[in-house]
């Protein structure tokens, strides 16, 4: 079975500062890893994913995540956040089946 831990329930940060949202997973099989973002009153949107290959994956809006197998982590980073990045971020994993196992989410609050 897989599980996902997001240690930080909330991350407050000032605009243009760097941010890291932490995600650790456990699994006995090879996994796919995902970050989803949820803006207020909207559904979950896929931000980026790791399936195989390069351990560093990037999104179109400046976020990146690095798969670290030895530390079973998939932390999300952005070097300079904007007000518009304020949202809930969910880390998720899928293993040998098709379902996603989600973490509890991290609320990123960006202040001016």
């Amino acid at each position: 079975a897989q599980s996902v831990t997001q240690l930080d329930s909330q991350v407050p940060v000032f605009e243009e500062a760097p941010v890291e949202l932490r995600c650790n997973y456990s699994s006995s099989v090879s996994v796919y890893l995902f970050w989803y973002v949820q803006y207020p009153n909207q559904g979950l949107q896929l931000l980026l994913k790791y399936l195989s290959g390069s351990t560093l994956v990037e999104s179109i809006n400046g976020f990146e995540a690095e798969f670290n197998k030895s530390q079973t982590s998939f932390h999300l980073r952005k070097p300079s956040v904007h007000i518009s990045d304020t949202a809930e971020y969910f880390c998720a994993v899928s293993g040998h089946t098709d379902k996603l196992i989600f973490g509890t989410g991290t609320r990123l609050q960006v202040f001016p």
């Binding site: 559904g43 979950l44 399936l51 098709d98 996603l100």
Partner: protein, 114 residues
């Protein structure tokens, strides 16, 4: 950009009543899912559906729950006799080729059981 559409956005129902949550997946997608999120808790998998049958379901998805794809466009979740603990946000999702291709989620239906 194609969307997954869910209706209604909010439904209030009395305990013991049947509810049907509706979803229109993206037209060329083949895999369909329901997830739920109880307030303040994590998003939980309920069921996956492919080729007109359930491919996987969670422990939450007991006999009170059922899914159906009644025509070529809709995908529904029925709860036969709602309980207070069924109150949650229910998300529908679809995928072109399984989790590895990424899901597209709808905006959710907030179900409140009173």
């Amino acid at each position: 950009e194609p969307e997954v559409t869910q209706t209604p956005s909010h439904q209030v129902t009395q305990m013991g009543q049947e509810v049907i949550l509706r979803c229109v997946p993206i037209s060329n997608h083949l895999y369909f899912y329901w997830y739920r999120q109880i307030l303040g808790q994590k998003v939980e998998f309920l069921v996956s559906f492919y080729n007109n049958e359930i491919s996987e379901k969670s422990e939450i998805f007991d006999d009170q729950f059922s899914v159906e794809r009644p025509d070529g466009s809709n995908f529904t979740l029925k709860i036969r006799s709602t309980k207070l603990e069924d109150s949650a946000m229910y998300f529908c999702a679809s995928s072109e080729g399984g989790a590895g291709r990424g899901y597209t989620f709808g905006s959710g239906t907030r179900l409140t059981v009173v």
